[in-house]
Symmetry: C2
Subunit: 211 residues, 2 copies
């Protein structure tokens, strides 16, 4: 964020540095590494492989992002930011129908090449557990965000007497858990048929909540 000419440019940092400018786009590299860590997790991803995946050399990577775990959490944050944006877009309006639509749209994602690796945040949580404080913080944020996103359309429908208001919280918890579960099954190598059945069940259940 620069304040040149009194104008705040939040999206692009207009740095007037002297030396040689960076030859790569940081965000672009991070996006590439999202996929990489998503697939390989933390421990199993060696710095050499990461460097190769990023397409630049080790010094540059350390220079720009710090140590392996700093890089990992930066990438993880970026992943969650993306997910939040996606959820906001899908669930910020409407009620149960929007929720059904969202789960239906998850089909494409779940069956894609990268989607079969489940959810990067879930993978990171289960791999790191309580070992790293940052992992716990990240996981808290992720659960809260997911919970809020899913709860909103349920409340919307409850307000219109479309679903039982007394069960909104239970429904929310169930769906959050179910999303984690879907991610686990995908990552574990469940067949496409099994994943589709799972999604169908989810949609059928949510539909049954409407009255």
């Amino acid at each position: 964020m620069s304040t040149t000419f009194g104008v705040m440019t939040t999206t692009e940092t207009v740095t007037k540095t002297r030396g040689r400018p960076r030859a790569f786009d940081e965000d672009q590299v991070l996006d590439t590494l999202v996929d990489f860590f998503w697939i390989h997790g933390y421990e199993a991803a060696s710095m050499n492989d990461i460097v190769d995946a990023a397409g630049l050399n080790k010094s540059s990577l350390y220079n720009a992002f710090g140590s392996k775990d700093e890089l990992f959490f930066t990438v993880l944050d970026r992943y969650i930011d993306g997910k939040e944006l996606m959820l906001r877009e899908a669930l910020s309006e409407g009620g149960v129908d929007a929720l059904v639509g969202f789960f239906a749209s998850q089909r494409e994602m779940l069956l894609s090449t990268i989607g079969k690796n489940g959810c990067m945040a879930v993978n990171a949580s289960t791999e790191l557990g309580l070992r790293d404080e940052r992992a716990v913080t990240m996981a808290d944020r992720y659960r809260a965000m997911l919970r809020e996103s899913i709860r909103r359309p349920l409340v919307w429908s409850a307000d219109r007497d479309e679903v039982d208001p007394l069960l909104v919280d239970a429904y929310t918890e169930m769906l959050v858990s179910a999303m984690f579960g879907m991610s686990v099954s995908a990552r574990a190598g469940a067949s496409e048929a099994e994943l589709e059945t799972l999604l169908d069940s989810m949609v059928a259940l949510i539909t049954s909540w409407k009255r």
Copy 2:
């Protein structure tokens, strides 16, 4: 399995080996390592740490169980066997009520020191992903086992018109996913309050299925 005196002893192998007998009980060591791998996962567990946890030296460990990954999958199998036994005991009789009772009893487990590490099979699945064929096989077996265990009481109740027979499959899928989700949340460091809310929601929802 020995056939000494024509009597099959399946539980204890009566080996007439010559040399020095093993100074430790294999099963006991495996039980100890279940907890260890459950907590640390695969990659983050170094052989030195494993050796320390097992309480014997490296040669003995390699002698008895082979390489690190062989050992890991042996331990994982043992974990799943234990879980299967537990599920069979809890859910082989009765209907939805048994299911409710089971989830209620999960409270104790989920809040225990080891239980806060989620489910070892889920952790192993998400960490290893598709990297190792044995992990996929194990995960398939685990999901199938869990699904069968949960489905049975639902079918039992459906037969007695206690729950909607048309939704039995959807209920099953949902509960399997929800169990995975619970495990993920626990492992991710969710507070006891959050885990209790989750369990309460689960119980409330299953109860609402009864008609």
